[in-house]
């Protein structure tokens, strides 16, 4: 009761169906090329137009190659999805940030940085990492393609109201501990289903101290605990971040919006369905060892042993370790790695590139490591240049690729070969996620940087 989640949700209820879901009004729909074609086709078959085209923004990101974007995508099937999105946007009169234009990038990077994602909004996209936009103080969540079609057709969706959870993290994070480590820590505490059915509000000193980029990373990973979404109540930092961005309100509209945004906080008497609280001291730089994001340890820790695992879960646990080529009880520090990926909607923002650069500055990339550094958007790419990070990275032996989802999910050219280890700043270490047979170790940009120069799993604090 009286949580910020309740306030935003309740403001958007069009009607509640008896013994059924809520009809919820959606302020912003984002679409990419993978999960939208069947939704537009559905409209066509029903003879419908997009109900509120001005509230829909589309951009291709998953299939895009991260080099030579002035040329068409080589894979004909991937290219067809991008072409289909272009055609659908033209036909239905919806705004699109096309491939290789300066507004293009990963949706979850572009939305916040252009000022399209704002506090108090309901935001959806056919993509589970839509929770990212929660960092702006919005209720944002991933949906399926049938639901994309619902929003295109009516600007609404039918949803059961999730329960509310507050996760507070207090204290001060130690040196070398980032928002990514906080998220990886929470996932290992809650498992990949611990927040299923809930919408999470992140709170406490650590979250208040976090930069907007850090909050975007934290909210991005809400789905990996099973949560419907996660958000941070907007504060001065949020308003400062939004002010002046291209699609943010201006002039009088800004003043009016700001006055409203300042009311967006959970009441002092708010009652959550579940409250969890952690201390920053518990959180170290982290890595994953298994094939779901909840299978994580502190970087200097050991893989659990069978004795730590419930009997029902041992078969899944061993399947996972066999896939990864790790043994129960093994320490992973010093383990050789082959690939490093910096990027994705999780860690493809300017601050992530600054963090990575801070470690590799004056060092050299390990010869046998392949490193992909992929900005989350053209805006981020421009900022990397403006700050001269590209030069420092170049001197250390790293090249910067062009923006896109890249090696996060093996839908474009950037794939990790079978059996090889990738230290990745992305969001999922599922079997085959970065290419069939690929072995993903999720980590922060600092851990990725330390691995890139040493060629093995290394505690980044030794470089700080």
């Amino acid at each position: 009761m009286n949580t910020l989640f309740d306030k935003i949700w309740d403001t958007h209820v069009v009607q509640t169906i008896e013994d059924g879901p809520t009809q919820l009004y959606i302020d912003r729909l984002y679409c990419h090329e993978v999960t939208s074609p069947q939704a537009f086709e559905g409209l066509r078959q029903r003879g419908l137009k997009v109900f509120r085209p001005g509230q829909v923004y589309c951009m291709p990101d998953h299939n895009i190659q991260t080099h030579d974007q002035d040329k068409p995508v080589e894979d004909p099937i991937g290219r067809k999805q991008i072409d289909t999105l272009d055609k659908n946007c033209d036909e239905f009169g919806v705004t699109e940030f096309k491939m290789n234009t300066k507004e293009n990038g990963i949706i979850h990077v572009v939305g916040p940085e252009t000022g399209l994602s704002l506090p108090g909004m309901t935001i959806v996209c056919g993509d589970s990492h839509t929770s990212t936009h929660g960092a702006m103080g919005a209720v944002a969540f991933g949906i399926g393609t049938s639901e994309v079609e619902m929003v295109l057709a009516s600007q609404c969706i039918l949803q059961q109201k999730p329960k509310s959870m507050r996760i507070s993290i207090n204290g001060k994070l130690g040196k070398g501990v980032t928002a990514k480590d906080v998220a990886l820590f929470l996932m290992s505490q809650l498992t990949t289903s611990g927040a299923t059915g809930y919408f999470v509000e992140y709170a406490g000193e650590v979250v208040r101290d976090m930069s907007m980029e850090g909050r975007l990373t934290l909210c991005n990973l809400s789905i990996e605990m099973g949560a419907r979404g996660g958000f941070v109540a907007p504060d001065e930092k949020t308003f400062e971040y939004i002010k002046g961005r291209k699609y943010a309100p201006k002039g009088e509209a800004w003043d009016k919006a700001l006055a409203y945004w300042k009311t967006l906080r959970s009441g002092d008497d708010a009652v959550f369905d579940k409250e969890l609280s952690y201390n920053a001291d518990e959180i170290q730089p982290r890595i994953t060892y298994g094939t779901n994001p909840g299978m994580g340890i502190a970087i200097d820790g050991s893989v659990p042993t069978l004795a730590d695992i419930e009997e029902n879960e041992q078969a899944s646990f061993m399947k996972s370790l066999n896939y990864m080529g790790f043994a129960p009880g093994e320490k992973l520090l010093g383990h050789k790695i082959d690939y490093v990926f910096l990027g994705a909607c999780t860690n493809g923002r300017i601050e992530d590139f600054r963090a990575f650069t801070s470690i590799v500055k004056g060092q050299k990339k390990a010869d046998d490591v392949v490193a992909w550094l992929v900005p989350g958007s053209w805006e981020v790419a421009a900022q990397i240049k403006a700050e001269g990070l590209d030069q420092i990275l170049k001197e250390a032996g790293f090249a910067i690729r062009q923006p896109g989802c890249s090696a996060c999910l093996a839908m474009n050219d950037d794939k990790v070969p079978a059996g090889l280890y990738s230290v990745s700043t992305s969001n999922r270490n599922f079997e085959g996620r970065q290419g069939p047979g690929s072995r993903t170790i999720l980590a922060s940009p600092l851990v990725a940087a330390a691995a890139a120069i040493s060629g093995k799993i290394t505690d980044p604090r030794t470089f700080l």
Partner: protein, 194 residues
Amino acid sequence: MKEKFDIITSSCIPLPLENVDTDQIIPARFLKATDKKGFGDNLFRDWRYDKDGNPKPDFVLNDPSYSGIILVAGKNFGSGSSREHAAWAIAGYGFRVVISSFFADIHKNNELNNFVLPVVITESFLQELFQSIENDHQTQVKVDLPNQTVTNLSTGKSEHFDINGYKKHCLMNGLDDVDFLVQNRQKVEEYENK
């Protein structure tokens, strides 16, 4: 896809693994279609086929002693990506029901929107069901949507399952949410003008 739902009795395909994510149900490299057809062929692709496309004999879908239109899976089924392609793959393969002790939220909605019924049962009933299927691969299970019950016909054990009245009505009558929402556009306009 809008196949009306009533009572289904079938043998089952068991998948006693936990946290089966949607990347396993349908890997990302198969998401490139612009229609909903053919995803069933790549259901559980990398568990079902080796890298040369040959069926892996130890995977349950390649074992002819198992059959049926009910998939029984370990807890937290469908976690991860929101891709509805996972539901299209399950429906496309021919499954009408998925039974588990726990589903990920988005995937559960995706199944419902494709007229595949996700049935949540207790962990103990799930384990008993896995045991029955292991003992007799043709164990029959009855899923009765009108009465919201699921019954292991080999032991007679039955459980009630939850589904909201609106969605049950939709499944039993072949209606979908877009139909409902388009009929309610007037209410949306009223909301916008408030």
